[in-house]
Symmetry: C2
């Protein structure tokens, strides 16, 4: 039987001590870290980028199929993805958690293992936070801090007419991964003895459970002397994010369906659910790729990076935001659902409440961290 | 009847737009605020102080007697109190909220009124955040950012032997205020028709519902060229906080009961509950006063400030942390309960869950914001 230590046996300060005792700071800018009223950060002439996300059990994640280690990892990644989306490098995070007594210390340790794995991978320091007892459910609040030279940060509102519209990686896979996990959860709830059928779907499931933030793209920009004219990360789906850039930059755009990058594994998986891969890419969300615009003069440099796809260009606002389908038809880009008439729900909307703390044994072989 | 607008009618972006449309930035350091992936902050050569708190309904606050406007105000104040406790000046906050559908837009507006009132009073900018739907309860996560000259921040771990132990304002009142509100809640639950008996208790109730952070003390330090050797704010009660400074600075201390500042209103109120005012000051919590140590050479300057009380001094660690009672006896200082044998519960422990959203009509005359 797994060991179960009640968190209440440690007390609040004992718990903080336990969770933070192995921290090794990686950034010279982390002057004072955990253990005081506040952390102190030095800047060496740079500006600070700061962003936060609140993740709630039953709303943003389902612990029935989300291992706590993955949740910890993802909680950090989705935040520093926002820092990268400002063209900045993340340096510190602050993490608050609310936990009910259904979680043991061992469960919490799993969560922190994931947090520290992400911190190590992305070179960020955990410098503070808060722990609270919740009456119900797991609550995660992460604030990420990053640094950027004063003339290098990139907003959403500064795209220019004629700029190239680009995206990193591939899209839609996290959403299809979610469909698989929701299907298996449903089957498990109805027939606990049935073995899961997730063979060969580790790519799409991995995209949902263990997303990565595109540090490589930001490093590529720095090394290539490219400063995007606008940028944001894709958490809600491509079409919704493109419309943010259009609205905030007061522009329109043309997007080519055939240029939208999708992985073969995602396409095959989408067909199993009889849904259109393009719809998954446009509306699926949770991919944490970067969407950005660059000046046409950066084209020659940009095409050298195979992780970047050119998917369209920016136009004047009066022309609207449009997608040209593979068949050559033009449609208005919609906030959710893109070119399909029946919008697929956002990933955050189809998460359901679950009282399970541990991932069921039969799903454990999909733990890929 | 009060107007009730469902939050769902606005959508997430409509809600953010609604809640942030009147923000006027007060700090030149707030380069990019709400509306992008992250905020951008400039520092002009200073270091950044950053701290966070997670406040959960039913754990940290009870909406039966906490008006939402006060909750918004207090959520900001308790965080910037941590910034002051580093001898820094707060400049920005980031605010995330999780709300269930039992809250209307009007209720949320009340909360934000309090948030903006605190921002205005303390000169801080709200520069970002996150909103999420919660399945149950109100969740508030605030991260506060401040600035400090590199040689001026004050930790908890740097007190020196022989330093004077000091505290601002008066202690224990917030706890007694809580006792009154809990008593009235209990009476109201049993007999909704009975009028509340809180006459003359506005001081102690105000200390709980609308605490202030001690900006004046930090300004006094700056103007008097005093840099405390150690400092923290008092959220858990005086004895617990003194023990933090002792442990982190590896020192002992002597604390004089007769020197602990208590307000007359608190004393009279404590007697009504037949509890010792000193016990309230030592263990009550939620006062948000500053506890600090200064070098003896600062004595002459320090006594000029009537808001500061000298309550003891630091000793070597081997002598332990002790309190000298009014009767001249010496006791070991305990984490909770101080010199009394039956510890009083911390405020956060006696808060109970409540499903009420609005403060009951009969308590409304105590809304003092």
């Amino acid at each position: 039987m797994e060991k179960r230590t009640e968190i209440s046996t440690l007390g609040e300060f004992g718990l903080i001590e336990h969770l933070t005792k192995n921290i090794e700071l990686q950034n010279a800018s982390s002057v004072v870290a955990v253990g005081d009223d506040a952390a102190v950060i030095d800047h060496f002439g740079k500006q600070t980028v700061i962003t936060t996300d609140l993740l709630l059990e039953g709303v943003h994640f389902d612990l029935m199929y989300t291992p706590l280690k993955h949740l910890g990892y993802k909680s950090v990644v989705v935040n520093i993805s926002d820092v990268f989306a400002m063209n900045a490098m993340p340096t510190q995070i602050i993490l608050s958690i609310g936990i009910s007594n259904r979680f043991s210390l061992e469960a919490l340790d799993e969560f922190y293992e994931g947090v520290y794995a992400a911190c190590e991978k992305y070179g960020v320091d955990l410098v503070g936070g808060d722990t609270a007892a919740s009456q119900k459910g797991f609550i995660v609040s992460v604030t990420a801090i990053g640094e950027v030279a004063p003339d290098k940060y990139v907003k959403r509102s500064t795209a220019q007419k004629g700029d190239l519209l680009c995206v990193s990686g591939d899209l839609g896979a996290a959403y299809v991964g979610l469909l698989f996990l929701e299907r298996e959860k449903k089957i498990f709830m109805e027939s606990p003895g049935v073995q899961p059928d997730l063979e060969g779907e580790s790519y799409v499931i991995g995209r949902l459970l263990k997303p990565e933030a595109r540090k490589d793209i930001i490093e590529f920009f720095a090394n290539s002397n490219i400063v995007p004219t606008a940028m944001m990360d894709i958490s809600d789906g491509l079409s919704s994010e493109i419309l943010h850039i259009c609205r905030q930059s007061n522009l329109g755009c043309v997007l080519y369906e055939e240029k939208i990058p999708v992985a073969d594994q995602m396409k095959q998986a989408a067909y199993k659910f009889e849904i259109d891969p393009t719809a998954c890419a446009l509306s699926g969300g949770e991919d944490y790729e970067l969407l950005f615009t660059v000046s046409q003069s950066d084209y020659d440099t940009l095409v050298l990076n195979e992780e970047v796809s050119l998917i369209g260009y920016m136009t004047e606002a009066e022309l609207g935001a449009n997608i040209i389908t593979k068949g050559g038809s033009k449609y208005e880009l919609l906030h959710r659902g893109g070119i399909i008439s029946a919008p697929i729900p956002a990933t955050t909307e189809i998460f359901n409440e679950s009282e399970f703390v541990h991932i069921p044994e039969h799903l454990k072989r999909f733990i890929i961290l």
